[in-house]
Subunit: 233 residues, 2 copies
């Protein structure tokens, strides 16, 4: 890994109860391959990324090594998401880290470029998409609460989220309480985080319904979908 | 149309500036076919739907008739979305109306079933999806505002939104000011609106980036994607 290199940290230590998988949702099958292998393949094949780390729950390292073979180094994570992120950061060597959710199988090369460039310029950079649907809250009975949410300027956070490694490491270590996402450790310390356009294709697979869409996308991408092949060194 | 029938009203009178099409985004090409033809085909082929109406801006009726041939009747809309919805409702004959955004090309048969059943039972029913991404507001400079939005119970509205025709017609006529979506006319009058699960596949095409995803989906669906063929009567 070059001194000014880029390390991708793929977080797969979550439980994913909504996928009904019982186990780790990152290992759910997507067209016959583990979900997490798509993100690993995307980073592993990218010339913009110098090393890939896969963070999994303790006890899942062996299964993970099987999937990550030739694509990523496996690191044991911690209790909370931020503990896993910290384990990944401490095992990484790049000047920049890209922290990615293993449940997002289709990060594009163009997306990685925007996040890396944004991070080089601003220290911290997150891909975001506008909300174009009308938003409402659900009432207790399942009906809609009257009134909508102001969606002007409202953004959905995606990953990979890019950070200067040292800055991120410092703020992760200092973080108190449970963080919602990787940006929060940095934001809550007052560091401004830049935004770049995310992509509709870069969806997070959380439910069976998302998985059905991801399968249609993987089929539609065909050869454009990175195969889970060892990286050529 | 049977007395207890179902009328689908596809709204395509919007401008869609974000697609940079200059004209009506509903006519943008999706794999060589006008975007709106996908929704028309889905409703037209469904055995759950008794008639399909396509509402377009004045002046676009001829172009619309060309696309809708054998699938839908064309109706001229009004200034605002609710004026177009009203024009569609007044031209419809079913006991239930399904009001759908022409920019959502992939409503499934299962989705239509849930919305129709929900409407029969509750008079008004909207398909919704949970928000699983972290949400933040954008600051003026393009950076992220610290703090996240409470996403517990927060829902994204989809279409088709189902209503008892007479109830909807009454509330649309009484509506004051511009409505954000079809549910608002009814909600603001205190009528509870039921929710049923929407689908990740049922995306709204608003930007070029959404269009790219819709093309991958259309390719991935292959033969499952309804062709724009005249309905067999």
């Amino acid at each position: 890994v070059p001194e000014r290199g880029v390390s991708a940290i793929v977080l797969a230590a979550g439980r994913g109860k909504r996928l009904g998988a019982g186990g780790n949702k990152a290992f759910v099958s997507l067209l016959g391959r583990p979900l997490l292998s798509y993100a690993l393949a995307a980073f592993s094949r990218s010339r913009q990324v110098d090393e890939v780390l896969l963070v999994v729950a303790r006890g899942e390292e062996e299964e993970a090594r099987e999937v990550a073979k030739g694509m990523a180094r496996v690191v044991a994570g911690g209790e909370r998401r931020q503990d896993s992120a910290l384990a990944g950061v401490e095992a990484s060597r790049g000047r920049i880290v890209l922290v990615h959710d293993a449940a997002r199988p289709f990060p594009s090369e163009a997306l990685l470029r925007r996040v890396i460039e944004g991070t080089l310029e601003h220290q911290a950079c997150v891909p975001v998409v506008d909300i174009t649907d009308t938003l409402r809250y659900r009432e207790a009975g399942g009906t809609l609460r009257p009134g909508t949410i102001d969606r002007e300027g409202l953004l959905r956070m995606q990953t990979p989220q890019g950070f200067e490694r040292d800055l991120y490491w410092r703020h992760l270590r200092e973080a108190k309480g449970a963080l919602l996402d990787d940006a929060e450790a940095v934001l809550s310390c007052g560091v401004p985080i830049a935004t770049v356009p995310g992509e509709a294709m870069n969806l997070k697979v959380t439910t069976q319904d998302d998985l059905a869409l991801a399968e249609v996308i993987a089929r539609g991408l065909g050869d454009l979908c990175p195969p889970a092949e060892p990286r050529l060194e």
